[in-house]
Each structure stands twice: as structure tokens, then as C-alpha cells.
Symmetry: C2
Subunit: 316 residues, 2 copies
Amino acid sequence: MATLHDVAKRANVSKMTVSRAINHPGQVRPELRTNILNVMAELNYQPNAAARALVSRRTRVVKLTIFEDMDTTEPYYMMLLAGISNELNQHQYALQLATSNSYKVGECDGYILTGIREKNYAWVEQLSQPVVFFGRTYQDYDYVDTDNYQAIQDSVAYAVQCGYDNLVFVGIAVDAPFELDRERGFQDFVGENHLHSRVIRLANHGHIATDYLRQHWLEFPKNTAFICASDRLAIGIEDGIIQQGGNVPNDYGVVGFDGVFLNQIASKRLTTMKQPLEVMGRAAARLLLAKIAHPQTTEQEKIIINSRLSISESTR
Amino acid sequence: MATLHDVAKRANVSKMTVSRAINHPGQVRPELRTNILNVMAELNYQPNAAARALVSRRTRVVKLTIFEDMDTTEPYYMMLLAGISNELNQHQYALQLATSNSYKVGECDGYILTGIREKNYAWVEQLSQPVVFFGRTYQDYDYVDTDNYQAIQDSVAYAVQCGYDNLVFVGIAVDAPFELDRERGFQDFVGENHLHSRVIRLANHGHIATDYLRQHWLEFPKNTAFICASDRLAIGIEDGIIQQGGNVPNDYGVVGFDGVFLNQIASKRLTTMKQPLEVMGRAAARLLLAKIAHPQTTEQEKIIINSRLSISESTR
DNA sequence: CTGTTAGCGCCTTCAG
DNA sequence: CTGAAGGCGCTAACAG
């Protein structure tokens, strides 16, 4: 592996000049600089991350903590992970995946946090490194999220446009910002447009949605669209409709939320609000790296990324 | 953050002695050593990974490459990841997640490889760092895997014990060791026990299994058990049976394979061969770290971990 | 068994 | 704009 020293010798300059050519390009004469860059390319020079880490007192590690049972972890975390690591790789940063029981082990330069519960906030507040959340929180931390409010509005608008005239929002029974935003998006839309509507809240399990539908089947006339807060619920609803003899999508529409993996599993592929998770992962990583580089910034950063409706077989 | 120097001063020894107390305990007088350890604890000393990496010419990074579309990635990778990182964290190692388009970026001390295709072997062979595969390959690389042969035998044995007398193996139409092992496990078992049986091979998608079942429904009498090579197929089969009016589990049994996440989605929760993925991930990481520490070892290491049948609602 | 010396590769600081 | 010196925290190699 080529080092600064090798490049310097070959380019007839000192190590420092090479170092500067990389980190402070403005401080090196342009011609010299291009020459150095050429030599670097020739030698396939790669800066040594450990040496940089040592001198800059950085670990070059970012920790991603997922405060959820891995067992029940949504598959979409994989996409998120892919996005995060793609971005980190480009900056010679490595990842440390921490789970709810190991989140205190090891050093890092910053954290990407997700699935946080109330009781973890004390730990978060005491962290000295910068933090970025995946998903909005109640606190004033930086975060990356989809526009849940807008996304549900788009879903409902689409359902209405399909001609469904009874709108049901199937929410997740949890007191979290993402859920409240989605619910509010629904309420506002049906309110403004004077639509028949209803909101139900269920635990986020397919079979619970199926059971609910069985028990309340008669309350849902033809031409009902179910706007669901997750693909799990959407699949459960869809199964329930089919088991009750309902026709999807002609008499009943189903719209999911997430758009990763699960929508491929449904018997009628789900129309779903697809979150660009890879992009969101990258954004979270980029934001965190920026904060690591410039820790002084004080204002809260919010990155809102738009979801896109992926239309499939569960709506007409 | 405390350094070797701080500990040394406080313990009235040189840095080297402290270093040795950590890395070569045998070379330090026992009493001195315990004293040093105490001081380390007092100061909450954590060795600086970057400095170690620099001097030992290691990166302290392990790369995990997943040669699959993240989009269709099985959710169980999350469990695998959890296992790997739990083990790495304990050894001050970080992770670098590489996907099929970024697998050449960055340095590392070793690789955990999965989802490899024929065309990637050239790249693998040219790697200078140690490699561990997740899942057996055709080549003589070290690997961690479940005992696919045994697992399917157990599945069939259980189905027989349930009283199903027509056994159908629903395999994945792919020419891979894991699949051939599973198929062989099935064939050997039904052969030795002179059972009615049949093997079909399908692309690994739920709806394809459902379609297949619809088209061939009449060929499957009551008392048939479907032993599936994946939970996706199992869910598809189960859906198909139910749509044809068949009774699960009374008249038809379904057994899946994997046991992560998907089995929770099925309308009748799947009986499935549950792979201990967290454990497998840890094992892979541990094996790799051992190879990094002792690169000379030449013999192929195979770690085979047993799966366990998780009995649920899709068998009687 | 313990200490001293030197250096891993890079960057900050200070001279030129 | 460029170079020389020194040190980040740790450990291998050699003295004692």
C-alpha cells in the first residue's frame, strides 16, 4: 500500500505538500497539485484511515442503534442500512450496529438513532457526539423522515380519484409522531373534502387487522378504500376482505405504507406509499458526517424526503 | 479519554508494562498486573482502536458483502447482521456493509460473503484477506451454514409423524448447494421410508407457488404435506390451499424454512424450520476474527449449526 | 520481568 | 506557497 511518503518521493515534494494537496487544495500551487494527483492515481494511493483517525482523534466509526427487537424488525431496515453504509463507505467511515442490549459498547464519532423509546432519551441526552434520528421525535434533535402528512394525503387523494367513496384510515395504535402525522393527514383531507370516513387504530400485525375486519365486516360497504399506516396492516386487511368474499380492487381498495418487501408478498400486490429508504439512509449519514465535521452548528436540521405512491393490484 | 500513558503514570510503571499487561499477561508479574488492571478500571481506560490499527497494520474493519438486490433481500439478513455486529463489537471491530455495486471500495481485514454468484468468484479468489462464507459454496472456502440436509429430514419426519401421508417438496429452482442439500434430504428420507412423494421446483415467490397450486390442485389429495424450501414458498402454498377451499392444517400441512419475520405474516402462522441466524452471524464473525489473528491456518473450516423446527398453525 | 527506543501514516505548527 | 519537526496512542524489538 502506497503511503504519503511514497507519493511525496515520486512527486519530488514533501509529505506535507501531498497532504495539503488532499486536504487543503487551495494552499498548493495548481500545477503542483495536478501533478501530485497524477502520482497518487499512478500509485493507487489510499490514505490510511487509521493514521488519520489517530491524529484527528476520530474513530471513523458511526454507530447505528436500532432500539427494537431484531426479531420483529421490519425488513425495510435493510434498505436503510444499505443507504447509510453506501454513504459512509465513500467517506472512509465504518459502521457499528448496536442493538438494544449493546448500545453502550465502543467509541464512535456520531450516532444514527432509530426506534427510540421514552426511556432511552436519558441516554441520548448524555451523549457527547452528534446525533441524527431516523424518523421525527418529540425532541429537537436533527432527523431525516418522510413527509408522513403529505404521503397519506396523496394516498387518500389517489383512492378518491379511483372512485372509492368511503375512506377508512387504518392506523397503528402507537403514540408516535409518524403515526399522528399520518392520521392528521387523513383527517385534514377528508375534512376539507367532506368525505365519508372513519379512523381505526390497531396493533401493527396482519392477523389483527384480519380479525378486526372479520368482526366488523358489515360496517364496510362496497366502494370502501382502506388507507393503512403500514404494509403489515394492509396485507391483513386485504386478506380479511378476500376471506369475507370481498373483491379487491373492484369493490374494496387497499393502500399500504412502506413499500419494502412486504408488498411483494401480498396475494394481490399492494398499492403502497413507497419510502425511498436508501435515499433516506444516505441523507441521514450525510447529515451526521456534516455534523461531525462541523460540530458547532446549533440549529435543528430536518430533512424531509417525499414518498411516492407505487400503484399495483390492490386499487382499481 | 485515558491513555496508556495515564495508566502507566498512575500505576508507577512504564507504558510498555501496561501494554503487556493487556496483550501478553504472562510476561508481567501477577501482582503488578492486577494492580494495573485496577488502575485501568479506575480510569475507565479503553485502548484506542485507531492507534492499535495503525501499529498493527490492521484496519479493524470487516466487510460484509451481500451480493443481492437489497430490494428483494430477505428480512433475515437483519438477524445475521445483528449476530455479526454483536461479535465484532466485542472485539473493537467495525463493519462495512458492501452491496453488489460498491464491494470494491475501502480496505478491511477480512470478508464475510453471502449471496455470491458464479461471476463473482474471480473477485473472491483475488482477495488477499481472509474470507468466510455465510452458506456453503462449491469452492473450498470456510463457511458457516445450517445443516440443510438434516433440517429437511427433520421437517419431513415431523410431517409424517403428524399423519400426513403424501409428501411434497417444494424447492427453489436454483442450482445452489443449500437447495440441493435440502432436496437430497427430502429424497433420502422418503426413499428410505417408502413414502408417497413428489418434488417440484419453483422460483422463490409466493404468488408463483399460489398459481402453481391453483393449476395443479387436483393432483394433491387430502393428507398432503408441503415441505417448502423457503417461507415465501410456504406462504404462497398456504394461500393457494386456502383459496382452493382446502383446510390447513387438517387436510393439508405446510412447513416452511427460515423462520424469520415472514412466518409471522402468514394467515395461518407457519410451522417452519427456524435457523438460529443470530448465532450463525456470531459464528461467522468469530471464525473470521480467528483467521485474521492467525492467517496461517490452511485447513478448511466448516461450522454447521442446527436449525430447530418451530411448530405453529400450519401443521396439525 | 521491566524499561527505552523507535516508528506505524498522517496532520498541526511553525519556519522559511 | 512549501518544508522540517514533532506527536497522536500504541506496540515490536532490543536492552537491562
